[in-house]
Each structure stands twice: as structure tokens, then as C-alpha cells.
């Protein structure tokens, strides 16, 4: 078995170990109330098992990383799939470190699913090793990308702790306007997570079924001097076309639920040849996500936040506040050094200018400014607790936009290879 095959197996092993670990955490919390158990002991015992499993998962994940490196001859950080799996790995490392400092195992109950969702998301993208284009052939690839991922991993753990804080502290019995608003925003956050899960489910389901639809799109583009040129491109969809590309002709569509052509046409003001497909994907993600959310909501018969709230009863919210803050504080210098400074040095060497206001660079700066605002907020009294937790949650959304949104929505020098 060669290195790359071993690497793929390690990855699958890591994924399953993470899932098992998550289940153990759930057992630790939910099983507290089962008969014949001393709650504290039960929780402690199962948490310990969960942590051991998650650590084994991390070891498998590290093995995936290093064997892929050996097998491909280049560090696995150069395309979307590799980078996001790296992020999942660094989040687990960050979680493990935070765990050793604070010894609060229930953080795992949120850190694990976060990691699982992230590496599942990564798996949607092409997984083959892609040889490096000239711009990436540098040692800085190893340093800049890994450190940026490490910094962002701590922001992710801060996000998880912040989310836990909100679920712990937002009172579902509060009927004032303020209280209801807080509940609704929290629910919205949870639904958003479901939309991401929806994307992953939809992507795998339709790809697994081999779904294909093709359109030929006619686009008129404007050159830099104002000249108009017409071009024809074939756009391939891997999900049923709810929104087909603007101004396109249907070539072939696999039948799905009676749909054998695009239902709607993407509006003309959507830019770019793949914009129709991206819109379609987003719409599917929302649909599937809402369906999944709806099913769970039907089962628990109350807002999801209200359902999770009692599980967090045994945790001191101030600890969560401290963990959230501490994670971000630890991650900030790492992100500054790896995500900004090393990036600037590398840009100077490769492109001759340390900063070009490229969208990715700008969003990295936005992330940095946002978290520095967060740190300055914490200097003021009254900004601990809920406001701080919300900021930690929003901050990670900005991180995700920088990593994923910029690549998918905005063009630029920084676009990753192998983006679907």
C-alpha cells in the first residue's frame, strides 16, 4: 500500500474516531440522568473516554497529513481540500491544548462536531494531489499557511466556547423583547450551521448518485478597454438545477423528481460563468438544511437552542467566557504572525509587493481588525459575558468568509486551486 492510500485510510479513520468521540460526549451529558448512575462520575468517565478517542482521532489525522506529504512530495496545504482538512486538524490541536489548560471536557461536545463538519465540508472538494503551480513553489507555503490555520483554529475554539456560553446563558423562559430577540438570533445561528450541513449532505448525496446536468451558457463580457466579446461555455451542475445559468441552453439534465430542465433562470446581474451553479448550490443547501432542521425540530418540539440548553447545565458560564476569551487571545498573535506578517513577506518575495489589497489579503486584515476590536472591547467593563460571546461567534463567521467566501465569491490572485 503506498503512502497516499495509507493517507486516505488514515483520514477515514480520523473521521470515524471523531464521530465516536462526539457520541461519547453526548452520552456523557445525556446519560447523566439515566438510572443507576452517579451523574458526576458518569460524566467524568465518559468524557475521559471521549477525550482519549478524540486524541486517537487527532493522531490518525496527523498521520493523514504527514503520509500525504511524503506520498506527494509536497506539503498538503495547497488546495481547498488540503487546507480545510488542515484547519480541522489544527482545531483539534487547539482544542487539545485548551483542554489541558482548563480541563473542561464538555468543550469537546462542541469542538468535535465543529471539526467533523469542517472536514466533511473539505471532502466535497477534489481530493487528488495537484502539483504546485510556480507561485506556490516556496518554503513559505509551509510556514504561512500552517500558521494561519493554527491561529484560526484558536478562533474556532473561541467560537465553540462562545456558542456554548450563549446556549448556556440565554434564557428561553424570558418573554421580554430583548430576551426573545436573543433567542431568535441564537436559533438563526444554529440554523446557519444546519445549512452548511445541508450543503455537505446535498453534495455527497447527489454526487454519490452520479447526478449530472449540463448547460451551454452564452456570456457577453467586457474587456478592460470597453470592448464587448461573446463567448460560449459549458457549465456542469452536480445538483438538480433549480436555478439554471443565465442565458443558457440546456444540453442534458438527469431527471429528478420530475424535473428535467432548469426551474428558474439565474438573474442576469449574477456575474461569472459559474455563478448560476453557485446560486443553485446555495439554494439546495438552504433547502436541505432547513429540511434537516425541520426534522430535528419536529422531534424535540421546541427551538433547538432550548433543547440544547439543559445539556449545558453543569457548566459554569464564567468558565466558558474565560475559555472563549483565552482561546482568542492565544490565537491572535499566531494569526498576526502567520496570517499577516509571513503572508506579507512571501508576497514581497513572490509578487514584488507585500500588500496589494487583494480581496483575500483585505479579508485577512478585516479578520485581524475585528479580533483586535474584540480584544479592546474586553478592556471595558460590561463587555464580558454575552456581548463577548456573540463577538466570538461573529468573528469565526468572518474567518470562514475569508477562507471560503472569498475564494467562491470573489476572484483574485489568491483563489485556491481545485475549487468546485
Amino acid at each position: 500500500m503506498n503512502w497516499l492510500d495509507f493517507s486516505s485510510s488514515s483520514f477515514i479513520a480520523a473521521f470515524f474516531l471523531y464521530v465516536i468521540s462526539f457520541i461519547f460526549y453526548m452520552v456523557a451529558v445525556a446519560g447523566k440522568k439515566w438510572a443507576n448512575r452517579v451523574p458526576k462520575e458518569h460524566e467524568a468517565r465518559w468524557s475521559k473516554r471521549a477525550f482519549v478517542i478524540s486524541t486517537l482521532g487527532l493522531l490518525a489525522h496527523l498521520s493523514f497529513f504527514f503520509t500525504r506529504w511524503i506520498g506527494s512530495g509536497q506539503i498538503p496545504t495547497s488546495n481547498m481540500y488540503e487546507f480545510i482538512t488542515l484547519l480541522g486538524m489544527t482545531i483539534m490541536i487547539a482544542y487539545t491544548i485548551i483542554h489541558f489548560i482548563y480541563k473542561k471536557p464538555l468543550l469537546g461536545m462542541f469542538a468535535l462536531p465543529l471539526t467533523i463538519i469542517i472536514i466533511a465540508y473539505a471532502s466535497v472538494f477534489p481530493q487528488e494531489v495537484q502539483p504546485l503551480i510556480p507561485a506556490l513553489q516556496s518554503n513559505w507555503l509551509k510556514i504561512h499557511v500552517t500558521m494561519a490555520a493554527a491561529g484560526e483554529a484558536f478562533f474556532a475554539v473561541g467560537f465553540a466556547a462562545g456558542l456554548m456560553y450563549l446556549l448556556r446563558v440565554i434564557d428561553y423562559k424570558d418573554t421580554t423583547k430583548k430576551g426573545k430577540r436573543a433567542q431568535r438570533w441564537l436559533e438563526f445561528t444554529l440554523i446557519s450551521i444546519f445549512v452548511i450541513i445541508g450543503f455537505i449532505v446535498a453534495a455527497f448525496a447527489f454526487k454519490g448518485a452520479g447526478y449530472v446536468a449540463e448547460f451551454q451558457q452564452e456570456t457577453v463580457s467586457v474587456s478592460q478597454v470597453g470592448e464587448l466579446t461573446t463567448s460560449y461555455e459549458v457549465v456542469e451542475y452536480t445538483m438538480p438545477p433549480i436555478f439554471k445559468p443565465y442565458n443558457s441552453e440546456t444540453l442534458q439534465v438527469t431527471k429528478f423528481l420530475g424535473m428535467n430542465d432548469g426551474l428558474f433562470e439565474t438573474p442576469s446581474w449574477f456575474n461569472g460563468v459559474n455563478s448560476g451553479r453557485k446560486l443553485n448550490t446555495v439554494v439546495w443547501s438552504i433547502i436541505v438544511g432547513l429540511i434537516l432542521y425541520g426534522i430535528i425540530r419536529l422531534i424535540v418540539r421546541k427551538p433547538l437552542g432550548a433543547a440544547i440548553h439543559p445539556m449545558l447545565d453543569g457548566i459554569d458560564p464564567d468558565d466558558l467566557d474565560e475559555i472563549s476569551y483565552r482561546s482568542i487571545v492565544i490565537g491572535f498573535p499566531i494569526f498576526t504572525l502567520g496570517g499577516l506578517i509571513f503572508a506579507m513577506i512571501w508576497a514581497e518575495i513572490a509578487w514584488g509587493r507585500f500588500w496589494g489589497w487583494d480581496p483575500k489579503e483585505v479579508w485577512a486584515l478585516i479578520t485581524w481588525l475585528y479580533y483586535s476590536a474584540y480584544l479592546h472591547f474586553r478592556l471595558s467593563r460590561g463587555w464580558h459575558g454575552k456581548p463577548s460571546a456573540w463577538l466570538a461567534v461573529i468573528g469565526f463567521v468572518i474567518v470562514l468568509f475569508t477562507l471560503v467566501g472569498v475564494n467562491l465569491l470573489i476572484a483574485g490572485m489568491h483563489s485556491y486551486a481545485g475549487v468546485d
Binding site: Y102, P126, E128, Q130, P131, I133, P134, A135, Q137, S138, S221, V222, Q224, V225, G226, L228, W269, N271, D318, D321, E322, Y325, R326, V329, I330, F332, P333, T336, L337, I341, M344, I345, I349, A350, W351, G352, R353, F354, G356, W357, P359, V362, W363, L365, I366, L369, Y370, S372, A373, H376, F377, R378, L379, S380, R381, H384, G385, V406, A411, G412
Partner: protein
């Protein structure tokens, strides 16, 4: 405030007006503060911040505005929101073509949103006056915030008293009170020893019953060093606006050519551009035959002009100074100049041909003779023939009046008109039109143009060895950046300050023993969790075992 305020503490120390906690013993000065039970505000250890004056004048008002952390946060938020706007559509600076027309492009490419974008000037967000103003304000805030805080902090931390007032100790965010059974002096020393193991510096007063343990004071300076670094960074960014400090332009060099670098005395010669693609074995399935580039590079020679540099009549004299193979991640560096590989163009350009002239009547061919596209010789003797070059066109075409013209200055369709003298030709010579490129011979019907002369003479290039052409043109990015080294220095300071301030925390533990009554208070700027653990550890070593959480007195709020 006109009424005199008594600021002399019961411990005997005379404090400045505005002092919150006595500089000597820490007792709250104001009666209201003294009576409350809230955890104490420990900023600057309660020392009077003389910047908070009673009657601020105009200058003070501006100063206070920039000194405020709240304002700084607003500035940061507005800046990143503004930056977000700059990423919606591509910025004008990303288009390097001289023909880019922003007033037309955004409206045409993006419709109404594009039009609005252009109208608001957002296509130049990052060089707009409001964005620069924000950066200037942040810079000013960095300077003033830091000056305003670092001096009071230094004064406060420099002269610290060991024996603190009871209310100071009891109202710290981590505190403990209890009875002791041991001898006070002995216990104090024991406690000190325990903390020494955790790296604290121990100070015990003359009575032996009061102790101050301090650790990592240096970390308090972290944020200020960070701010100095950021200020230096911003100044370096600004300095790039000084004329000549930042050169960013492009030079295109076709293989074999030497091109001047505008604005400098340098010339760069391309010894050849080369590009390599990944072959199919190196690529995964879906990328096969995709033409993925493996490497592209240019071998260059850099010259410096040593004489006649501004003189285009006499040729500038060039001296070679450096040779380098420029790759994307490996620019040419010479003194302050850098040449980066930017782009390339694989359109070949014909430079010269070496054709034979054929006497079609006898079948003999003579030559070859060397004919360059640029500045060719005007007179050629080839065998029995004499060729005079009387006209040439680089890119031959015929205009609407049927006259020959050239449509560009690049040799895309070169044409040469010779007056040829030789065997069986008129004594004054006969005019012959020659197209070196085969496609042009056909397109312009060379034989028809030359009429009967075409039956007597042929000019042919035999084999590709007799064609001199350049395979590619390389585009290099020319960079001179004198400010960038200050930038890196600023970045280093900034990182240093960040690391100092975040990964170490300033911790202080005070205690006093009065008649076997122990009063202990502790303070840190961050990470109360760790501070409580330290205090509890030492207590345990002195026989008092407790959960660190029990020391908490509001310290959990940060």
C-alpha cells in the same frame, strides 16, 4: 473644582488630586468608594491620571478624543467595514492596462451596482481620502493612547508599597482572609519561598509581616511596544508616497532584446524565457491535458548605464552588473532594485532571415545573406546580384486607396522592396518585393506583384536554421521599495509586543498579617484563573488548602 480636597491618606502619604487609591497603602480615598464593597478598579493602580483634567481646553479635547479606547474601537470597526466595501468589485488598481477605462468598465460589467460603485469612488477604496483619513486617525490614536497611558503606568508600577490597606486587599478581585496559627514572620517567609518556586520576585517589608510577590511586570509593556511597532509600520507605508521611494512598473522584454528600465539607469536583457508544463504522468485524472504550468522563468542579464545615459543620439554605454534566472519566487535583486517574474507571452517574433537568392533560369542559388527586420543593411552583394533595399514595411497591408502601408511597428507581416541588379536584368536594376513569411507570400500574391521578375529570381529561406526568431516575451515587474525595511522593523516590534503582552501576565500578590489575621489580595491584567492557582498553590504549601475558585471575588469577570 474650586473646593480644596483632602488627599492625605490615613497612612500619612500625601496624594495628588485625582488619586483613586492611595499611592502608598492603596486605601480608597473617596468616601463613596471606600464605603462600597465593589471590587476595586485597579487601572494604573488607582494613581491620578493627570490627563483627566478638570477644565480641558481645545487642545486637551482633541487629545482626549484620540486617547479614548472607545473612539479607537469605533475607528477600527469603521475601517474594516470600509475595507469590506472595497472587496465587492475588483479595484481599479488590479487593471494594469494603460487602456483601462473605469468610467465605462464598472457600469458595463456590473450594471447599476457597478455604476454606483464607480460613482462613490469605491473602485479606489484603499487610496481614497476617507480610507487614508481613517488610517491616519488610527495612527494618531495609537500614538496618543500610548503616551497617555504608558507614563502613568510606569509611575504606578515603579514605586510600589509593600504593606497595603485592608480595604485594598479585601476588595481585590482575588482575595483571602483567615486566621494563622504559626508565627507571622516565619509564615510570611514560607509563603514567599513557595511563590519563588513559581518564579515570583518577593519583597518583604521591615516588619516582616507584609509581602509583595510580583511576576512578569515586563508583559505590561507589551501593548505599548506593539503600538510602537504599528506606528512605525504605518509611517513606513506612508513613506512609500515619497517620490522615488516606491517604484512599481512593468517591463516587457522579448527574447534576445535589451530593454531600458524607465526612470532608472538600468537595462535588462532577456537571454530567453522558458516555460515547462507538467506532463500527464504528474497530473491527477481530471487535470490531464489541462496545460498546468510547472515552472516559468527568464534568464536575464542586468546592465547599468555608465556613460551617455540621457543621450539617445549616442548609444548609452552599458556595463553588466548581474546575471540571474528569475522565477516567480526568486526575483533578481541588485542593490535596491528587484525584478520579479510577472507574466509571459508565447507569441514568437521574427528577428531576421538568411535567404538564398536563386537564379531561376540557371537554377543556381547564391548566398545566404542576412536580412534583419529592424534596421537592416541597405546594400547586399550576393553572388552576381546586387540588392539595394529601397523600402520596407513591418506589418504590410494595403489601405483603402490601394497604397501600401504598415499597420504596426511589429514584424507581423514584414515586406522588403529591393532594387536588384544582376545577370539578365536591366542595367538600372529591377524592383522586387520580398515577403519572408510564407503566409504573406500567399496572402499578397508575391509572384503576381513581381510579374516577370518572379520567373527570373527567387528569394527563399531554406530551413528553420536560417530563421532567427524570439520564441517568447517575458513581463517583469520592476520594484524599488526603500521603505519596506522600516516596515519589517515595525512588524517585528509589533509581534514582540503582542507576544510579550499575551503569553505572559503581570501577577501581583500582597499579604499582611496583623495579630495572626492574614489578609491577602492579588491582581493580574489577564488570566485570573492562573493567578488564583498560583496563590492557592502557595497557600497549600503553607498549610492552607482550598479550591482556587474560592479566592474569586469578581475576578471571574475577566
Amino acid at each position: 473644582m474650586l473646593l480644596p480636597v483632602n488627599t492625605k491618606c490615613e497612612c500619612g502619604h500625601q496624594n495628588a488630586v485625582g488619586t483613586v487609591l492611595c499611592e502608598s497603602c492603596g486605601k480608597p480615598i473617596e468616601k463613596q468608594l471606600l464605603d462600597s464593597n465593589e471590587p476595586l478598579e485597579m487601572r494604573y493602580d488607582g494613581v491620578a491620571r493627570r490627563s483627566q483634567k478638570a477644565n480641558p481646553d481645545f487642545l486637551d479635547k482633541i487629545w482626549n478624543f484620540f486617547s479614548s479606547v472607545k473612539i479607537a474601537i469605533y475607528l477600527i470597526i469603521i475601517t474594516f467595514l470600509g475595507a469590506m466595501l472595497g472587496t465587492i468589485f475588483p479595484q481599479a488598481s488590479t487593471f494594469i492596462s494603460a487602456n483601462f477605462n473605469p468610467s465605462v468598465y464598472y457600469a458595463e460589467q456590473y450594471g447599476l451596482p457597478g455604476q454606483i460603485y464607480y460613482f462613490l469612488g469605491l473602485h479606489k477604496t484603499f487610496s481614497s481620502w476617507w480610507f487614508i483619513t481613517l488610517l491616519v486617525m488610527i495612527g494618531t490614536s495609537l500614538v496618543i493612547c500610548s503616551i497617555d497611558r504608558v507614563l502613568p503606568l510606569y509611575r504606578a508600577l515603579n514605586k510600589q508599597q509593600i504593606r497595603k490597606h485592608h480595604s485594598f486587599l479585601k476588595r481585590q478581585k482575588a482575595t483571602y482572609s483567615g486566621q494563622l496559627t504559626e508565627e507571622a514572620n516565619v509564615w510570611t517567609v514560607q509563603y514567599g519561598e513557595a511563590l519563588k518556586k513559581k518564579g515570583y520576585k518577593i519583597h518583604i517589608d521591615e516588619s516582616g509581616t507584609a509581602l509583595l510577590a510580583e511576576k512578569n511586570r515586563f508583559s505590561r509593556w507589551g501593548p505599548y511596544i506593539n503600538h510602537i511597532g504599528l506606528i512605525l509600520f504605518l509611517l513606513a507605508v506612508l513613506a512609500r508616497g515619497i517620490p522615488g521611494w516606491n517604484v512599481d512598473q512593468y517591463v516587457s522584454v522579448t527574447d534576445g532584446d535589451t530593454a531600458p528600465i524607465a526612470g532608472t539607469n538600468y537595462y535588462v536583457k532577456s537571454e530567453g524565457f522558458s516555460m515547462e508544463l507538467y506532463n500527464n504522468e504528474e497530473l491527477p485524472e481530471e487535470l490531464k491535458d489541462s496545460g498546468r504550468v510547472k515552472t516559468f522563468k527568464t534568464d536575464v542579464v542586468l546592465y547599468e548605464c555608465t556613460a551617455n545615459c540621457d543621450d539617445d543620439f549616442l548609444q548609452p554605454e552599458l556595463t553588466e552588473v548581474k546575471q540571474h534566472t528569475i522565477l516567480v519566487n526568486d526575483p533578481l535583486r541588485y542593490k535596491e532594485l528587484k525584478l520579479h517574474q510577472f507574466d509571459f507571452n508565447l507569441t514568437p517574433r521574427i528577428n531576421a532571415v538568411s535567404p538564398m537568392i536563386v537564379n531561376k533560369e540557371t537554377g543556381e542559388s547564391y548566398g545566404p545573406f542576412h536580412l534583419t527586420m529592424v534596421n537592416p543593411e541597405l546594400h547586399y552583394e550576393v553572388g552576381p546580384y546586387t540588392l539595394e533595399l529601397i523600402d520596407k514595411y513591418m506589418d504590410f497591408s494595403v489601405n483603402s486607396d490601394g497604397e501600401p502601408i504598415t499597420i504596426s511597428s511589429s514584424p507581423n507581416a514584414p515586406a522588403f522592396i529591393f532594387n536588384i541588379k544582376g545577370p539578365n536584368l536591366a542595367a538600372t536594376g529591377e524592383v522586387y518585393m520580398y515577403f519572408p513569411l510564407e503566409k504573406d507570400k500567399v496572402r499578397f500574391s508575391q509572384d503576381t506583384i513581381n510579374r516577370e521578375l518572379a520567373n527570373k529570381i527567387g528569394i527563399n529561406v531554406e530551413g528553420m536554421e536560417n530563421v532567427d526568431y524570439s520564441a517568447a516575451t517575458t513581463y517583469l515587474n520592476v520594484r524599488i521599495d526603500k521603505a519596506v525595511k522600516f516596515l519589517w522593523i515595525g512588524a517585528v516590534f509589533s509581534m514582540l509586543g503582542l507576544i510579550m503582552g499575551t503569553y505572559w501576565q503581570h501577577r501581583r500578590i500582597w499579604l499582611r498579617i496583623d495579630d495572626k489575621q492574614l489578609t491577602l489580595g492579588a491582581h493580574t491584567n489577564k488570566n485570573w484563573f492562573g493567578l488564583r492557582a498560583d496563590a492557592a498553590y502557595a497557600l497549600k504549601r503553607c498549610g492552607i488548602e482550598l479550591d482556587p475558585k474560592s479566592l474569586d471575588n469578581g475576578g471571574h469577570k475577566g
